[in-house]
Symmetry: none
Subunit: 243 residues, 2 copies
């Protein structure tokens, strides 16, 4: 109940412009209709070049891009759009292979939906991606909680009034945990919500947790703040349910 509600309140998702790119009129029609009824303003084009052009012209808040297109394909269109803009992109595809998915994400796509998909799921994904991208733009205020003070704007983190010398990832990780204290997160969750990855090496999380511990724990070998929940993941303990 903490985050999603607030970001929804601050950043309204209605009336956002979505650009739908698909050469199949049926799919394009269905997708557009559903997005419209979900409160989005929808523009449609049917090939890659038109997509690049339209993106530059109307600056949509998000693009739904079919992977298979006449002319340049979706992946290439995605790459070109991304090279000049950070507009979020959701890729549509008939293929479901892992390789395919990775190539899509590498090209800069923010999410990936395989056909056949339900329009409802599409709307959910669109909302989710939009929320994420809008949340990054919103100016956030500093947060004091427990011994921590997180200032996202200044990118400064303090603990007991002393400055923590954190790296980018460490800051993001700590900021997320301070925003969601006393809640256990799996490595997948953290990878997804802090790193923004949908898949990847989970040990990345493990190592960064260890590095963060070195900077915030009195005794890093016996964590009391950032504790591990065996078989689940990690939790930042601000409530004293321990001991």
């Amino acid at each position: 109940m903490s985050e999603p509600a607030r970001s929804l309140a601050n950043n309204d998702l209605t009336d956002r412009r979505v650009l739908v790119v698909d050469d199949d009129p049926t799919v394009s029609e269905v997708v557009s209709e559903y997005l419209r009824s979900a409160g989005f303003i929808v523009d449609r084009v049917s090939d890659g070049f038109a997509a690049i052009d339209a993106e530059a012209r109307i600056s949509p808040d998000l693009i739904v891009l079919d992977r298979m297109l006449p002319g340049i394909d979706g992946i290439e269109a995605c790459r070109r759009i991304r090279s000049s803009s950070s507009t979020p992109i959701i890729l549509l595809t008939a293929l479901g292979s892992e390789d395919d998915r990775i190539r899509g994400l590498e090209a800069g796509a923010d999410d990936y939906i395989t056909k056949p998909f339900s329009p409802r799921e599409l709307v959910l994904r669109v909302r989710s991606v939009l929320r994420r991208s809008l949340a990054e733009l919103a100016p956030e205020s500093a947060l004091d909680r427990g011994p921590f003070r997180i200032d996202p704007a200044a990118r400064v983190a303090m603990m007991n009034s002393v400055l923590l010398n954190l790296t980018v990832r460490e800051f993001d990780l700590l900021a997320f945990l301070v925003k969601h204290p006393d809640q256990a997160f799996s490595r997948e969750d953290l990878l997804s919500r802090v790193w923004g990855w949908t898949h990847g090496d989970l040990s990345t999380v493990t190592v960064h947790v260890r590095r963060l511990r070195e900077k915030i724990e009195p005794d890093p070998t016996h964590p009391v703040l950032l504790t591990t929940v065996w078989g689940i993941g990690y939790r930042l303990d601000l409530k004293e349910h321990t001991k």
Copy 2:
């Protein structure tokens, strides 16, 4: 041995209401039985109008809807339900054509299963759709009952305000029992609803009950909280009969 298992999700999928709509008594019976043994509460109706009525009346968490129905067909029922509610819908069908599928998804279905399907696949799909839809909702809150306090989000269990050091399985087992106190469950039930297995070695349950007793019973050899119901299974006694 084990299933895809590891739901480790934030939201408990047990005790969710599923409405099964099918005019074929055999199919309806089989589907319902499998869903029940997977821990769902199942209601059944046999035609489209009854489905619309039942949906409004009992507000199920999910609907399994046959595509072929007397009166209005599944697609139409799906559309009507969707017009007034966002309850997730899984469509059952004998047909497998692409067109058919698209029309189903267009009507607002969240997933689509073609007959013949394995009951196991059905349960997996139901879980998957439910998990997606529940993920958008509020996280579950802590539960206080008797001497126990269960916080699923934090993955913390306390007894008389002291922290219990439980493993994953022990936590899941205790959480389930605290949610359903003073009710006897067979080992099969527990295996199905806590482990998510449809079959397996029942001694697994026995051993875990014993391990849990070691951590919550004053005298594990003479249980007073987690008692065994001879010939039936186990029960968590929270109503204070004696003492």
